[in-house]
Symmetry: C2
Subunit: 337 residues, 2 copies
Amino acid sequence: MRIAIDGMGGDHAPFEIVKGCVEASKKIEHDIYIIGREDEIQNELDKYTYRKEQIKVVHASDVITMEDAPVKAVRTKTDSSLVRGLNMVKNGEADLLISAGNSGAIMAGGLFILGRIPGIDRPAIATTYPILGKGMSLMVDSGANAECKPTNLLEFATMGSIYMERVFGIQKPKVGLVNIGTEESKGTTVLKGAHELLAKSRLNFIGNVEARQVPNGVCDVIVCDGFVGNVILKLTEGLAWSILQLIKKKFTQGLRSKIGALLLSNKLKEMKQEFDYSEYGGAPILGVKGVLLKIHGSSNANAVKNAIIKGIPYVENRVIEVIQDSVLELEEITQSE
Amino acid sequence: MRIAIDGMGGDHAPFEIVKGCVEASKKIEHDIYIIGREDEIQNELDKYTYRKEQIKVVHASDVITMEDAPVKAVRTKTDSSLVRGLNMVKNGEADLLISAGNSGAIMAGGLFILGRIPGIDRPAIATTYPILGKGMSLMVDSGANAECKPTNLLEFATMGSIYMERVFGIQKPKVGLVNIGTEESKGTTVLKGAHELLAKSRLNFIGNVEARQVPNGVCDVIVCDGFVGNVILKLTEGLAWSILQLIKKKFTQGLRSKIGALLLSNKLKEMKQEFDYSEYGGAPILGVKGVLLKIHGSSNANAVKNAIIKGIPYVENRVIEVIQDSVLELEEITQSE
């Protein structure tokens, strides 16, 4: 397998990207291609001991920055590390691409360069959502499509189920539709339509779920439009941060508290780790014709390593082909309307 | 002032309701009317020492339960404590009504019995959102209107600003529009339209805010449709609960942790209190022609007491009239489209 990674994307590129690749290379046999400015990447690589036949640098002179307008950047920066990487996947020179760069550009690049899987109307970003003490759920869509039709939500549910089954080995993943009440009559017209389609599908649809149940791990696949998904992800981030700040403040007030906090320091560290969803790998852009994973802009070497390792079953278990095969069934459900 | 309260609504009625009324009566001079089954309410009241001329029972033979279909219940259960209370406000026999009962019925009752303030298209529920360590923001709408037009969001912002200014004394409350990015070009068509209207208004509009910023207290009035508002509220509840459960689990693992937790017990209690938004009073149904406050179904006596006390400035500072007066200005903004 040939794993390509955007060496220039993200807040800590190329340093953390290269370090993560070296760490991953010690755990796997597959080839890793780091794409970006050759001298910068090689400079980082030279800091480590690594097998030169396993990690290779692919030169790309340009970089898409966080400030670039996504669509324009993908169209014009043809020698950027991201566009170069996408073309490698498209041309069969790489089996997957991982990038910590501009999310909009990753999405736009996926659509324009790799293209949609025929029959999938709206590719989506699937993000792992941490379930404290219990693992994770997959949220589709977590930001690509602010407005959706019922059929799009059915697509998200189907693609998410296939991903959870094939990549995380979860049999018959439970699918929940985010809504403002559990009764099927609840919510917007779009959600009522989506409920109807999901109920007719062969997915393990458990019905509507309220946002309150999401952090509890009520389902394996959380289905929502990209607006709601973005709100859920960002609010979780913001709230977790606020709570950790409050803990920090409270636990350093007075000697008694400080001693208490010292005794609990390991536990506090463990708690912080529970929010680290990078251990589950990158966020797949589901619905594009190729294995494309987005990781957080602030990803460190460990997140890079995890994305590489978790990317392997995504390729090996033929997720793209299985999604492609599911399209006919999706059409049957939506056309029986 | 005559404060009416639904004595039968909520999980702990009439016990906690009556207790809260008695506690509030010691802090205020106003009259309190508890509406419900006279014998049950009187039975509870008899447990306390209270001024009989200050707390009175208004008999209503029926109760709207959590299982009742809201609209039907309001139409048919005409001698329920809720409908009785709403009629008291409508007929000028009470200045405000507080209920911990069926939220849908409170909303429906507000619309059918009190009616809309002329010019307000969609009344909304405004809920206080706890900002850890810093107070609260007001979120409008937090669940009444799953789908909204841009003008509705402008109404929510206007009513929320007036409420924050008049009830909490916040000058020029900062208004933020929940969106998936801070740039004005972000989000759905409805949100782009709302951004345009808000920018033209005289409100202190700070622009789009991301869900990540909400727990941080970035604005005083959080504007969103009822779907997103519900997701934000419920997710906050669910996540805070999950985190507290995790703290509980981690902090009782091993002797060292247990001692640490013991030393921090006061701080942990303080943290839990930060999530208790009942200290800011009930959630006003803004846009109906009368002062109507909804409190959580699980409200205890303290929440009831706070809702009563915070309800006073809502009446005294003529919030309903000020909203009424703002309608002309709203029309100017929307008609200049």
